[in-house]
């Protein structure tokens, strides 16, 4: 089979700019409150019961070398459990809309603060160590570029997080899984 070469990418900016963020070159993402791949604007830790969220990260699979196959069953998971009080949320997103720095549910918004700990924002799913589907569309690898939809992600931190203020808190690795045939 002419298997494709597929990489994990993150879209940011107005273009968007697509950046490879997977193991091939140890690229990475950092969740925060700016529209960079590696954010530096931190997420406030709630001082009372509640959850605050990062800006959006648009992750996707990108075909860098074409194949004769198709990809389906795109799923996302964490390699291990996140620290207490940290949560990775995702949703299937067909369209890229740049982070606009506004909280809400409109495209490009990041989730509004919640008054509950560990709150899952509307239309999002809490990621776990078990891969969960974000896009099951079958898409040929015959073209380079984005394959399938985005996994629109946001990180949540609630009042139970005991890690303290840290601009570079490490998270469990995020894994994108897919089926190719």
């Amino acid at each position: 089979m002419a298997a494709a070469t597929v990489r994990a990418y993150c879209a940011t900016g107005a273009g968007p700019t697509n950046t490879d963020v997977d193991s091939a070159d140890a690229g990475s993402i950092t969740f925060g409150r700016d529209d960079n791949v590696a954010s530096t604007a931190t997420i406030p830790i709630p001082t009372a019961t509640g959850t605050k969220y990062s800006y959006l990260k648009y992750l996707f699979l990108d075909v860098t070398v074409t194949g004769t196959t198709s990809i389906t069953n795109r799923r996302i998971s964490s390699a291990s459990a996140l620290a207490t009080g940290l949560f990775l949320f995702f949703q299937n997103q067909a369209t890229y809309t740049q982070n606009n720095g506004t909280q809400g549910a409109v495209a490009g918004n990041y989730p509004a603060d919640s008054g509950s700990n560990g709150a899952t924002p509307a239309s999002y799913t809490l990621a776990s160590t078990t891969p969960q589907l974000w896009d099951n569309t079958s898409v040929s690898t015959g073209s380079t570029g984005k394959n399938g939809n985005y996994a629109q992600c946001a990180l949540g931190v609630d009042n139970t997080y005991a890690g303290g203020g840290n601009a570079a808190t490490s998270l469990a690795n995020t894994t994108l899984t897919y089926d190719e045939a």
Binding site: M1, D22, S23, L61, T68, T69, T72, N173, E180
Partner: protein
């Protein structure tokens, strides 16, 4: 992506379709005639692996895919898991073959409990 196994399909009339054949046709598994498949054979590219065969019951639909992962922020090699098997309206059986040679089988019988 360099795979350590390649698939062959044996049709009910004895004809063999290989992955290379399908690739030469500009495709992959989508070139398989599902209704005629008698067996799926996973052939190792390396000599230190064993072939793995899934024989299909009559009327079953063949299943084949490679499950791959991309992990952010690591330097680890990404191991693929190849799945071959079959499903019917009442059962499904899959062989999961890791690149390292480990094999596991899952089987489920489906019951309508309504």
């Amino acid at each position: 992506m360099r795979d350590v196994y390649t698939w062959h399909v044996e049709y009910v009339d004895g004809e063999i379709l290989t992955e290379a054949d399908a690739e030469a046709l500009g495709g992959a598994w989508d070139h398989v005639d599902n209704d005629r498949v008698r067996a799926i054979i996973l052939m190792p590219v390396q000599s230190d692996r064993q072939p793995v065969i899934a024989r299909l019951p009559d009327g079953a639909t063949p299943i084949f895919f490679r499950r791959r992962t991309r992990t952010l922020e690591t330097q680890e090699e990404q191991e693929s898991i190849t799945c071959l098997g079959w499903k019917t309206d009442h059962a499904a059986s899959y062989l999961w073959v890791w690149d390292g040679g480990k094999v596991a089988m899952t089987h489920c019988d489906l019951y309508d409990l309504t």
